[in-house]
Point group: C2
Chain length 262, copies 2
């Protein structure tokens, strides 16, 4: 795939739509924003939108659909949110019931789609600045932890802040603070660096989600607010139905990562 | 008043509450964030919250109350939103019906308060950096214009982007872009500089709101998204009831301006 083509984001969506692509989207359509998805009934949409407003670091909103609409203004030409993600997760009352490639069969006219920024965008900026990203080097998922920091609740949505961790030398951590701070719509600057216990993480070698990665001598763990936070809050709220992307299987948008920098 | 005291923001609110202060809040409680207010019935709150999400530059949310609550988490110790602003405007179906010092009499259990960032915060940073702000020098209100840029609509809320204008030498405009860009929660970087016609402003000497200011030879007009935008959108939506602050009579919060910088 020609990842430098301006049409590459749409190509990825069409490959997902036609079933050609059912795997993760990492490294596809380089330069384009990939997005977390949370799809909820309209009667929960106000509480969830307010949850995102109150917790902008873990829940940086890129766009919100009209109820029942299968597109989101500005995110993708001819986007069909029911088909254009390679793999979905369908939840009933907080229980995972299916992982389909297409959610047309369970679509409802009251569903509202929330597109939430993802760390892929700032990782591209880190790599471009020569800051190594360990889980990418090691071909793993980023390690994620439930921290002792509580989110600001809204209605039925609450729960711990989930954080992702990237180990770095202090000099790279300083660069990473500067670089990711310029990307507030994809989690922004770290929320912590150094001692994991300080945010309630007792065993850095055993992440709650994703994979463990090597921490080398002299490196410190650096923690960012993570898009799993809203997923955990949704699971805890046990809505009648909710739909998310499957981990790593993101919505590839027509937005350029570079446009998210401030 | 001792404007450097950490209690000065609360002092201003108590003076408003007791009726001692009924005038504008400019230059009171220096260093503390002052906020625009929009108070709406719960049945319009989702559309308005989404309007703010879709238009973050004119509508940077600092906080949202629970329905009927007279406080907003994090904005002020013992805040009573019904009394702590020096002067309010009460609107019925988009028509201004009263400008009281207290809205306890019209309060309803379904009212939701939206606190929206205000340019006072970034003007303090501009002055601290030696960038002159003309309307402050001339003791006037900032000039504001309805631009030809449309906001992204949400439900009943729509309308033009209203912009504020500050004339500056190009070297100061460059500094101002850098400084205000660090304050995304109080309108952030300018949306335009130079030719007013480019954003549909035909007569820079006749603002739609506020006062005209002197533009000196060599200066260019610099335009920021303005908090009057949501007020105009609310007036256009003609809700049964809405409450705003009276222009210049802001909610003084316990948040420090410096904490808003990124």
């Amino acid at each position: 795939m020609n990842s430098t083509s301006p049409s590459s984001a749409r190509q990825v969506r069409l490959m997902a739509r036609t079933g050609v692509l059912s795997g993760p989207t990492a490294n596809l359509a380089a330069g384009f924003v990939q997005s977390n998805l949370a799809i909820l009934p309209r009667d929960l949409a106000y509480d969830f939108l307010l949850f995102c407003q109150r917790n902008p670091k873990p829940c940086p909103l890129l766009g919100v659909s009209e109820p029942g609409s299968t597109s989101i203004n500005g995110l993708g030409a001819d986007l069909d949110i029911r088909t254009d993600v390679p793999r979905y997760r369908v939840w009933e009352k907080g229980v995972l019931v299916d992982e389909p490639q297409d959610v047309t069969g369970v679509w409802r006219e009251d569903l509202v789609t929330f597109a939430i920024g993802c760390s892929f965008s700032f990782e591209e900026a880190l790599l471009a600045a020569g800051v190594p990203v360990r889980h990418i080097e090691e071909g793993r998922n980023v390690p994620m932890f439930r921290s002792s920091i509580e989110t600001a609740p809204s209605g039925v949505f609450s729960g711990p802040l989930v954080v992702s961790m990237r180990p770095m030398l202090p000099e790279d951590a300083i660069k990473a603070v500067q670089i990711t701070g310029r990307f507030p719509s994809v989690h922004g600057a770290p929320i912590h660096l150094g001692d994991p216990e300080f945010i309630g993480i007792s065993d850095i070698a055993n992440p709650d989600y994703g994979d463990a990665v090597t921490i080398r001598p002299g490196e410190i763990p650096v923690f960012w607010a993570c898009g799993v936070t809203p997923q955990a809050a949704i699971a805890g709220a046990m809505p009648e139905i909710s739909i998310t992307h499957a981990p790593g299987h993101m919505l590839v948008t027509d937005m350029l990562n570079i446009k998210l920098s401030v």
